[in-house]
Amino acid sequence: MTTVLSLDHVSKSIGKKRIIDDLSLSVQEGEVFGLLGPNGAGKTTTIRMMVGLMRLGAGDIVICGDSVKDNFERAIKHVGAIVENPEMYQHLTGYQNLVQYSRMYKGITKQKIDEIVELVKLKKNIDQKVKTYSLGMRQRLGLAQCLLHDPKLLILDEPTNGLDPAGIREIRDHLKYLTREKKLSVIVSSHLLSEMEMMCDRIAIIQQGKLIDVQTIADQQLEEKSTYYFETSDLGKKLLQLREKWMIALKGEGFIIDAEKEEVAKLIKELTEADISIYLVQKLTKTLEERFLEITGS
């Protein structure tokens, strides 16, 4: 695995206020990396420093081996980005906008532009002026704009902001395609937990400019014990026995239990033999939201 982006003890102050405090993290090839945090935690500032819109206070950011501080033009060549809303020139057509950006790189052909337009499904509207576009279309044009030069790293600040569920789904599918097929790395920021959970491989939780924790989403499946909810008919006399053997806790129309996979199968057998009906067995995964709240302590 090669490291595509690394932040090395990055800090930034505006006035006397420290907005980013000693932030270090790295993103690997083909990974979707999330920056999660409440509003004002410093996600956008971090992203702006990555793409050179803001100067670094201290530390360094390295993209594909090139430092943003010392070698900005080389470093930024590897990056395609949308910072907040993808604001384009309203009085130009979608296509003219893309041509504008393509002129700032070497060797982007007309075919390449057409190919990208096809990819983001904007072919029908590409010759209309951007001011006639819906938010979803603008978002797709924004995505097209950052894919023109075959970047190695996509940086998307709140890419699903203001989109309807269909639009969010679409962006998610695009990202999946790009990371799987094109081996792109992606950084997304959001304050929406559920969404990050669905998109990202790893998530960094940021609060008040500090890195609190980095969570791997796939972790959940590897945990040995999980929590299960059983909905059953009246347990009657069996209850006492179960309590002793399995440490269950009553809840709703049934009970909750911490157990391994095999144990669950045994328990079901036991209950059936005791002539208790089982209506539902459900695995309760701890949601990211619960973890997030646990970690940030709010």
Partner: protein, 315 residues
């Protein structure tokens, strides 16, 4: 760099306001030609006895000079006398009949329109990108900020040259249609360093146009600087236009009282005085003015580039 300028050029030319500006300019040229033609038809030509007329003019000028010949009027009469005497000596009749150059010469007053339009473009070209947020997608490209700002400035200059070319070209074309080609002996007599020199009128007018546009260049540069430093196009437009219209008058008023006024930008923008006429404050020379202009120019750009390069884009 070429591509960046092409981008900026495209962004300007695709705007509706640009078409309105160019349209207004063309209308103004047509209106001006119409008015001149109308006035010209009502004007009675003085005819063949131009030598006697000039002789008479010389005499009145002499009397006036003795009577009112102060610091400024004196040089004015001196200039008139010198030119008129030169006419008699070399038998060059003042062309009383209008020709194509008359129109082109009159059209030079449209340069203040050009100034106005160029200031609007210069004020918007940086600040506008900040207010629409498009600056973000522009600055995350493998191009240094210096190059981006420079391409914007050069585009503004190109735009003003386009407008100048429209005025000069269109007024020449209309002039030829209305008056036909100019007579061969039509020369411009200029008074330079106390001597009278002959110049071809077409060339003289190109020089005049370029000299007039120094005003525009400086104010445009200032508007551009304000636009880049404060990211506020209204401030840039307001301040620059205010100076465009009253700057000269105020500077001239100050010049009557104070000697330090010669360091003001506006007393140095009109270089025509060094080619044909006399400077506002005695002792000012072409070199002095050029140095002052260069200084102002460099300061404006130093400010613009310094702030644009360092700025954190947070909006």
């Amino acid at each position: 760099m070429f591509n960046l300028i092409r981008n900026e050029w495209e962004k300007i030319l695709k705007k509706k306001s640009t078409f309105v500006m160019i349209g207004l300019l063309i209308l103004a040229i047509i209106a001006l030609s119409g008015i001149l033609k109308y006035v010209d038809n009502n004007d009675e030509s003085t005819g063949d006895e131009w030598q006697a007329d000039i002789q008479q003019q010389i005499e009145t000028d002499r009397e006036n000079m003795e009577e009112y010949g102060g610091r400024q009027l004196g040089t004015y009469y001196q200039r008139n006398l010198a030119i008129n005497e030169y006419r008699l000596e070399h038998e060059i009749s003042p062309s009383v009949e209008s020709n194509v150059w008359t129109l082109v010469d009159e059209a030079k007053m449209l340069t203040s329109f050009i100034g106005l339009f160029t200031i609007v473009v210069a004020a918007g070209i940086v600040a506008g990108e900040f207010s629409t947020g498009t600056i973000k997608l522009l600055l995350i490209r493998p191009m240094s900020r210096t190059k981006i700002l420079l391409s914007k400035y050069l585009t503004v200059i190109l735009f003003s040259l386009l407008l100048l070319a429209i005025v000069y070209g269109l007024s020449s074309i209309i002039g030829v249609i209305l008056y036909g080609f100019p007579p061969d002996d039509a020369v411009h007599l200029a008074y330079q360093n106390g001597e009278v020199v002959e110049r071809s009128q077409g060339l003289q007018l190109i020089i005049t146009y370029l000299l007039y546009s120094i005003d525009i260049l400086m104010l445009t540069t200032m508007a551009f600087m304000i636009s880049a430093v404060f990211r506020n196009s209204s401030l840039a437009i307001g301040l620059s236009m205010f100076l465009l219209f009253v700057g000269n008058t105020v500077a001239n008023l100050l010049a009557m009282q104070f000697d330090w006024a010669k360091y003001l930008l506006f007393l140095n923008t009109d270089l025509t005085v060094y080619f044909d006429g006399m400077p506002t404050i005695e002792g000012m020379t072409l070199t002095f003015s050029i140095i002052m202009l260069t200084l102002y120019f460099l300061i404006f750009h130093a400010l613009a580039f310094f702030f644009f390069k360092r700025r954190d884009v947070a909006a």
